[in-house]
């Protein structure tokens, strides 16, 4: 199945793109997605995505309860550094 990974702000700069289309097996989770990304990205890029303060959103909702939940085709996964508005 196909999913899309989006990267914002400092993570967009680290990964050097704002979006990656990813082909991943049916039933894959966010943990599998990280594995997939690790195969495509450099180590320093992956380290930026794996930082403790990075939040992940699936279809514009923050993931609160770990990354084992199963993704669906067409899901939009966003990697977000700490926010600062106002």
């Amino acid at each position: 199945m196909k999913v899309r990974a989006f990267f914002f702000a400092s993570l967009r700069e680290a990964v050097e793109t704002d979006v990656l289309d990813i082909d991943i097996g049916d039933g894959a989770s966010l943990i599998d997605l990280r594995r997939c990304l690790a195969a495509r990205l450099r180590e320093d890029q992956m380290a930026a995505l794996d930082a403790a303060d990075v939040r992940v959103a699936v279809n514009r909702r923050l993931v609160h309860d770990g990354e084992a939940a199963v993704l669906a085709a067409g899901d939009e996964i966003a990697f977000m550094p700490p926010v600062t508005g106002g």
Binding site: F6, A9, R60, A78, M80, V83, T84, G86
Partner: protein, 156 residues
């Protein structure tokens, strides 16, 4: 109620008049807050501007949630939040919050709450741009988090 994200500047006059028209005689007060781009970062160094990024769809919901929370705590007649994105220069307006309520206490508190939450919970990213360098992504400060936290502890 009006919650917007836009690249263009906003006019306090225009928003004020539209809000007054909406509330009619139902509110006894409006509190307004506008945030501007400072020419110096917290550490004192000069910045040539700010770049603001958002996540369309998600940022709007994060702002709506903040306004809902404010309305859950105080009797607010109407709230306006306008947040700009894109390239901004020192002195430019970034954010406008208008809060209308029957009495000033709720309007002051509601306005401050919305701003404190925008600083720590709204989905925006802000980069300080400097001439001749790549710039720095801004992080919320300890003060921002303290201000957001005190709303959880004051038992209102």
């Amino acid at each position: 109620m009006s919650i917007r994200i836009q690249e263009d500047d906003f006019s306090l006059d225009r928003e004020w008049d539209a809000l007054r028209k909406r509330i009619g005689g139902s509110a006894g007060s409006i509190v307004a807050f506008a945030g501007l781009v400072r020419e110096r970062a917290r550490a004192g160094e000069e910045v040539s501007g700010l770049f603001l990024e958002h996540y369309p769809g998600m940022t709007e919901s994060s702002m709506e949630r903040i306004v809902e929370q404010a309305r859950g705590r105080w009797p607010l007649q109407d709230v306006v939040v306008i947040h700009r994105v894109g390239d901004l220069r020192p002195g430019d307006q970034i954010v406008l919050v208008l809060v209308a309520s029957a009495h000033r206490g709720a309007a002051f508190a509601g306005c401050e709450f919305v701003m404190d939450m925008l600083k720590t919970k709204a989905v925006f990213w802000k980069k300080e741009v400097r001439t001749g360098s790549k710039g720095t992504w801004v992080r919320s400060t300890g003060d921002d988090f303290e201000r957001a936290k005190h709303w959880r502890n004051d038992g209102e």
